[in-house]
């Protein structure tokens, strides 16, 4: 869809557990780094897009960057489901002529500041639609992302026979890739399947090593026209497809009332658009970055995206198939399990590096790269080539 758009620059802060500075400073550092990577300056920027959950308003970032005017700005909702959606909105703005250079950013002190796994009980009573939804779950003790995902994971296991070991293989692959990525929190710290099986329960059937880490940091992505990107120093990562999706009877993490719970139909909505826009299919993809806040949803994504049939992801990922050298290496930066939890934005940066040929875990070939955003919520994804 976004005719002739590309990612021209990526930038990030270090990934840590305590950044020691404000989220606004993190955002500005990442945006500045991304512009430098693109060979652009703040004077070139006329659009900013971020997550609804981000604590830094576009105008605050614009002030810090010294931007005099913004022509396009916006926020995309639903937690980590926004990540690729920000790029999609930026690309549509550029394609429509609403802006020339749009920077997407996400900055968070998720470990040292507000931790998403810590329940704010008052959220079960606020008079918004999300507050009303929380009111059905929080009082019963279903109050964390891990527990919300565990409910779907259990049903998936029941229907298809998947096991904790199957989930563990995703963690093992992520930590293997993180081990050779100096930016990753878990650099040089791989785990074995046995260590996964020995890790403590958080919310059964999720163990500690099924849950992504909590991180401080920021990532920014520069989107511009393909024509302009071709004149810039980096090889453009062409946005071959960009899509958002919400499914039937959609909730935020608790879509428990639809007929089928052992899937992620919102990702199916995204997948159908991606393949149609790009004129590609799953077999064409060289490597993919699949959102991994919790391991079971990587299996469900493989199925919704069409890499394998429903219920067959456990076979698809067996025998190291999703590790380097396998048939579809996943999350070569180490994912959010291994590199950092920057709400999926660090995964987009890795997809760009794979297109450029600069990943520390480069997958050979020149085929397209798929990257997805947060799952269990209204979501989004990109195909870059």
């Amino acid at each position: 869809m976004p005719g002739g758009t590309a990612i021209a620059g990526i930038g990030a802060t270090e990934f840590s557990k305590d950044s020691g500075r404000s989220e606004l400073r993190l955002a500005v550092e990442a945006v500045t780094a991304a512009l430098a990577d693109a060979g652009l300056t703040a004077a070139d920027v006329d659009g900013l897009v971020t997550f609804t959950m981000d604590g830094n308003a576009e105008i605050a970032v614009a002030r810090e960057l010294g931007l005099r005017e913004l022509r396009f700005f916006g926020q995309v909702g639903y937690g980590g489901g926004a990540a690729c959606g920000c790029v999609a909105h930026a690309a549509m703005a550029v394609a429509a002529g609403a802006a020339d250079v749009v920077v997407c950013y996400r900055a968070l002190n998720e470990r040292s500041g507000r931790r998403f796994g810590q329940v704010t009980a008052g959220l079960a009573g606020v008079p918004t639609t999300a507050g009303v939804d929380n009111g059905w779950h929080y009082p019963m003790g279903l109050a964390t992302p891990a527990a919300a995902v565990a409910m779907i994971a259990r049903r998936y296991m029941h229907e298809y026979g998947a096991t904790s070991e199957d989930f563990g293989r995703i963690a093992v692959a992520a930590r293997r890739h993180a081990a050779s990525n100096p930016r990753a929190w878990f650099y040089q710290r791989p785990v074995t399947l046995a260590e996964h099986q020995e890790s403590r329960w958080i919310a059964e059937p999720l163990r500690l090593l099924d849950c992504c880490q909590e991180s401080d940091g920021a990532v920014a992505i520069v989107v511009t026209s393909l024509d302009r990107a071709r004149d810039l120093p980096r090889r453009p990562a062409v946005i071959a497809a960009a899509a958002q999706g919400s499914g039937p009877d959609q909730y935020i993490m608790t879509s428990y009332y639809r007929d089928d719970l052992a899937g992620l139909p919102e990702m199916g909505v995204v997948a159908r658009q991606l393949w149609r826009q790009a004129g590609l299919g799953p077999a064409d993809v060289r490597t993919a970055v699949l959102y991994d806040h919790f391991t079971p949803y990587v299996l469900l994504q493989l199925e919704e995206l069409g890499f394998c049939a429903r219920g067959e992801a456990r076979g698809f990922i067996a025998d190291g198939a999703v590790e380097l050298g396998g048939r579809l290496p996943l999350n070569t930066h180490g994912g959010q399990l291994g590199e950092a939890y920057i709400h999926g934005m660090n995964g987009i940066a890795e997809a760009v590096r794979q297109v450029r040929g600069t990943s520390v875990n480069q997958v050979p070939g020149d085929g397209p790269v798929l990257v997805t955003a947060g799952t269990g919520v209204p979501t989004s994804a990109l195909i870059l080539s």
């Binding site: 796994g117 810590q118 329940v119 009980a121 079960a124 009573g125 606020v126 008079p127 507050g131 009303v132 939804d133 009111g135 059905w136 779950h137 929080y138 009082p139 019963m140 003790g141 279903l142 109050a143 964390t144 891990a146 527990a147 565990a150 409910m151 779907i152 259990r154 049903r155 029941h158 403590r200 329960w201 958080i202 919310a203 059964e204 059937p205 999720l206 009877d249 608790t254 428990y256 009332y257 719970l261």
Partner: protein
């Protein structure tokens, strides 16, 4: 202190019934479909004329999680506890917590029935506990299907 649900025009009838020990779900007065959680209009025929229908309180465990890691002081003394999605006999599903069952003994498909517990002044929540009678009946009917050896 317990986490209590916010009350709104949409949700108050459910919680008022719970306080009286009754489980109710919303029902469309036009097409007679019922569902949960409540909505301002019927999701099937979009009618605005909705009522509330009492349900039996019988259901089965559709899925569940055993929460081991507490993240709120209200639940810190409760871990491990079992959160379940119960499919009511009448169809709609409900997020609840299970009482009277060891975490390792919970199963998908297990018969359960509603019980109410006061958690704060004027607030009762619907929990579920194993339904021994229906479980025995289930075992009996399955037993009849097994070939003699």
């Amino acid at each position: 202190m317990a986490v209590v649900p916010g009350m709104s025009e949409l949700t108050a009838p459910f919680w008022e019934a719970a306080r009286a020990g009754r489980l109710v779900v919303q029902e469309c007065q036009s097409c007679r479909q019922s569902w949960h959680p409540p909505l301002p209009r019927c999701p099937h025929c979009h009618a605005a004329g909705l009522g509330w229908r009492p349900v039996s309180g019988e259901g089965t465990v559709y899925t569940y999680t055993v929460v081991r890691h507490p993240t709120h002081h209200a639940f810190a003394d409760e871990v491990p506890y079992v959160v379940a999605l119960v499919a009511l006999a009448e169809g709609p599903r409900l997020v609840t917590a299970l009482l009277g069952v060891a975490p390792d003994e919970v199963r998908v498909g297990q018969p359960v029935r509603a019980v109410f517990r006061d958690v704060a002044a004027g607030v009762a929540l619907p929990y579920f506990e194993p339904d021994a009678g229906r479980a025995a009946a289930q075992r009996g009917s399955l037993g009849g299907l097994w070939p003699a050896r």
